[in-house]
């Protein structure tokens, strides 16, 4: 299967917010009305029940005009994901589509992923169980993995009427992105393709109209080495040692029992 990616050309976005509603509609997420804070942006940032939001950044251009920069802010689905590396329960994993998904059954709501995501994407949602006890689960965009499995595009992409959001063959999309970048350079001299190599690329690639920092994105995100060591080496080793210990204990128990058994046959002692 060819690699597919979601591509966001922010210069085509007209800020209609259909992607936000489509996401809520498909994923059955509750509305989260927020107070007016002086900006037309509907939500301050992503939350556990708002998996994508259009950010509206207004800035003054070189010739004194105002310019409004829209960005469909959502999970980047990093090739090397901060959240996945931070998760102590292995609840976060990559699918064959390159999407990073949270397994709600495994998630214990510790929030390590929330603290580690450099993009501020993943968040904890609070639920109440039948006994009235509160519990938390990490929630974020899953690139509509359920739809991808059925051969459909993500809900946000289907709703987009300006083709700002595209879900298509990676090579094709990236080649078109380069062409588009060359085309818009005159109007947006700082335009760039945001697909950070420090995190082994992302499954949601952006064509930004200005520097990443203008949109509040890290210039060159990178998963800390300590985190990689912890997740990929220390944790499996720890689990292995725990497994080895368990097996040693059980093995010892078995051999003891066997040895005991030998004596018991004749002696008729109590089994214990």
């Amino acid at each position: 299967m060819a690699d597919y990616i979601k591509f966001v050309d922010v210069t085509k976005c007209d800020g209609c917010r259909a992607c936000m509603v489509a996401c809520k509609n498909w994923n059955d997420l509750p509305a989260e009305p927020e107070e007016f804070t002086g900006s037309i942006q509907s939500h301050n940032t992503l939350t556990a029940n708002t998996w994508n939001v259009i950010t509206y950044d207004e800035q003054v251009t070189a010739n004194g005009n105002f310019e409004w920069l829209f960005r469909h802010k959502s999970c980047h689905h990093c090739g090397e994901a901060f959240c996945e590396k931070a998760c102590p329960e292995t609840a976060i994993s990559h699918t064959k589509f390159g999407s990073v998904v949270v397994d709600a059954d495994k998630c214990v709501g510790c929030g390590y992923c929330v603290n580690n995501c450099q993009f501020g994407v993943i968040q904890l949602a609070t639920y109440v169980d039948k006994k009235g006890k509160e519990y938390r689960k990490a929630q974020k965009c899953d690139l509509c993995t359920g739809r991808l499995e059925e051969g459909l595009r993500p809900a946000c992409v289907t709703s987009c009427h300006t083709n700002c959001l595209v879900y298509d063959d990676k090579d094709k999309v990236l080649a078109e992105a380069e062409k588009r970048l060359a085309k818009i350079k005159e109007r947006f001299p700082n335009a760039n393709i945001y697909n950070p190599s420090g995190i082994k690329g992302t499954t949601t690639v952006y064509l930004l109209a200005d520097k990443p920092t203008v949109y509040g994105l890290p210039e060159d995100p990178k998963v800390a080495l300590s985190q990689i060591v912890w997740k990929d080496y220390a944790q499996p080793l720890g689990k292995m040692m725990l497994g080895a210990t368990t097996m040693a204990v059980i093995g010892a128990a078995i051999s003891t029992a066997i040895n005991k058994g030998k004596g018991e046959h004749e002696g008729g002692q109590d089994h214990e």
């Binding site: 976060i92 097996m247 078995i254």
Partner: protein, 188 residues
């Protein structure tokens, strides 16, 4: 409970093996998060037209029993080709919203409360009021010219009306009742 030595060994071996697999996490890397049930798998979409603006986008509505499960732009519709705006995307809530009004509501003159009424009563009331108002305010002649109009009633149309509906409404309200204030929602 009596175990033979063989049984005991078998059991212990099985337990150890299970624990080994679980604890060592052999399948950790391959473990895939269970994706949610595909909610529209068994459902047949019904096509409809967006009720909001005059563009008239096509929408597919996925319903189950007495509930709307999902709605999205109709990819086969020539106008929107599967896309929708933020308002059209919310069309599911026209049906599912708790705020939806399902009965005609009446607020009497001077009252600050709405009350539920029957359709028959509401339609009669509208007809009576139109008749009474028109009769009271009808102008036959003005400055020697026959005008046959009333300025006391206004009509407000919607963007989803098509040409033929607009034609019929004009016939009824302008030619039939003599209204001059005929407006359209999109112009206000």
């Amino acid at each position: 409970m009596d175990f033979t030595r063989r049984q005991f060994l078998k059991l212990s071996g099985a337990v150890a093996a299970t624990i080994a697999v679980v604890e060592l996490g052999f399948d950790d890397k391959k473990a895939r998060a269970k994706s949610k049930d595909f909610k529209i798998a068994e459902l047949k979409p019904t096509s409809t037209i967006c009720p909001y603006c005059s563009v008239g986008c096509g929408i597919l509505v996925y319903s189950k029993d007495n509930d709307v499960i999902y709605s999205e732009g109709d990819p086969d519709h020539p106008i929107n080709e599967g896309t929708l705006c933020s308002k059209g995307t919310t069309v599911r809530q026209v049906y599912t919203s708790e705020k939806r009004i399902t009965k005609p509501m009446y607020r009497a003159p001077g009252s600050n409360k709405w009350k539920e009424v029957d359709w028959d009563w509401a339609l009669d009331k509208v007809a009576q009021n139109i008749k009474e108002t028109r009769d009271r305010t009808f102008v036959h002649k003005e400055n020697g010219v026959i005008v046959n109009r009333t300025d006391a009633i206004a009509y407000l149309g919607g963007a989803a009306l098509d040409n033929e509906e607009c034609h019929l409404l004009h016939k009824l309200f302008r030619a039939g009742l003599g209204l001059t204030y005929i407006e359209h929602q999109a112009r206000i």
